[in-house]
């Protein structure tokens, strides 16, 4: 499966009450196009989506916070796995879309190919779901996403995917509007 298809599948399983934090580049664009709006679309701050998700989860304990990030973003902020494991907010869920490349900047290889996600996440003390594999059937992918969404505590779902991002236009919202929309949604 391609990364954008995982986000499309996820969109069909959401209640609409969740807050999504998405990593810069293609993933934010895909979340903008395929999921309910508005969400927290990061445009920069590569490496920080998990940290931002943690902050939102602490400030909005009544909400489910879903952080969706690429492998390049994960590797740039690996230390944040230790932080979330320590803080353990039960309303934070992380979805790693690992396409093995920096797709946004032209598909240069990342170093994620050597990672064993289960061992990595277990090592960080983080509850996790068996990674989605490239050739998993759609039904099994949906099941894993549902399991992840239903998890009663902090949970990480890694998804190994193929890279073929669709061409999507830039997010039309100015970042200031993105922040304002979050403020207004808190009523």
């Amino acid at each position: 499966m391609y990364g954008y298809e995982i986000i499309q599948e996820l969109a069909t399983l959401l209640s609409g009450e969740e807050i999504i934090v998405s990593s810069n580049g293609n993933i934010s664009r895909q979340v903008y196009n395929y999921c309910k709006q508005p969400q927290i679309y990061l445009r920069g701050s590569m490496g920080l989506p998990i940290s931002v998700g943690l902050g939102v989860a602490l400030a909005r304990p009544e909400k489910q916070i879903l952080t969706i990030l690429g492998d390049g973003n994960l590797l740039m902020g690996l230390g944040s796995l230790s932080t979330i494991s320590y803080v353990r907010p039960s309303n934070l869920k992380i979805l790693i879309i690992d396409n093995g490349v920096y797709a946004t900047t032209g598909h240069q290889a990342t170093t994620s190919g050597t990672l064993n996600y289960t061992a990595l996440l277990d090592g960080f003390g983080l509850p996790n779901i068996v990674p989605i594999q490239r050739n998993d059937a759609v039904e099994s992918i949906k099941e894993k996403i549902q399991l992840w969404l239903d998890a009663p505590e902090l949970n990480i779902l890694p998804a190994l995917v193929d890279a073929k991002p669709p061409t999507l236009s830039n997010i039309p919202l100015h970042p200031e509007e993105i922040a304002m929309l979050q403020k207004h949604s808190k009523t």
Partner: protein, 164 residues
């Protein structure tokens, strides 16, 4: 020295319910006091200072207020977190930065250059800053927070040795 407990109580009264950052020995008395204030201020230890700015940004997206503690060596690592996140999305937060590399740190060459360029880097990143001094510290913080709310952006306090 400023009483660290009074300092935290003051910040709490100004609306800060979260704090994050990476320690500096200049802040050890204050960090010790976080335990005492944990009911009212949640402290999240970060692994890097840019991560701390990310956490504070998330807290602010969620409608609460966070302050961030770091050395100026840590300030040297947060350029992108400021420019492409906290400043870009207009997320107000208070950065409390220790000013290492001045006279008392003459035996710590690792801080020397950063000590010299701290003010210039704050200015070049367009972060308004004030030196926190023992005298009138509440007033200084009030002025800084007024600017923070007015601009809806991060502002900084520089803290020399022996102040906190």
């Amino acid at each position: 020295m400023i009483n660290p407990s009074e300092f935290l109580t003051f910040l709490r009264a100004k609306g800060f319910s979260f704090a994050t950052g990476v320690p500096c020995s200049y802040f050890s008395r204050m960090i010790d006091k976080f335990e005492m204030h944990q009911e009212s201020i949640t402290y999240i230890p970060a692994t890097r200072e840019d991560e701390a700015v990310g956490i504070a940004s998330g807290v602010t997206f969620g409608g609460a207020r966070a302050f961030v503690i770091m050395q100026n060596s840590g300030y040297a690592t947060i350029g992108d977190a400021l420019t492409s996140l906290a400043q870009l999305y207009r997320l107000p937060m208070l950065l409390i930065i220790s000013w290492r590399g001045l006279e008392p740190d003459r035996d710590f060459p690792e801080h020397s250059l950063m000590g010299k360029v701290t003010e210039a880097t704050l200015s070049s990143y367009q972060v308004p800053y004030w030196e926190l001094e023992i005298e009138d510290w509440q007033r200084t913080i009030e002025v800084a927070l007024t600017k923070m709310e007015e601009t809806s952006r991060p502002v900084a306090l520089l803290v020399k040795q022996g102040v906190l």
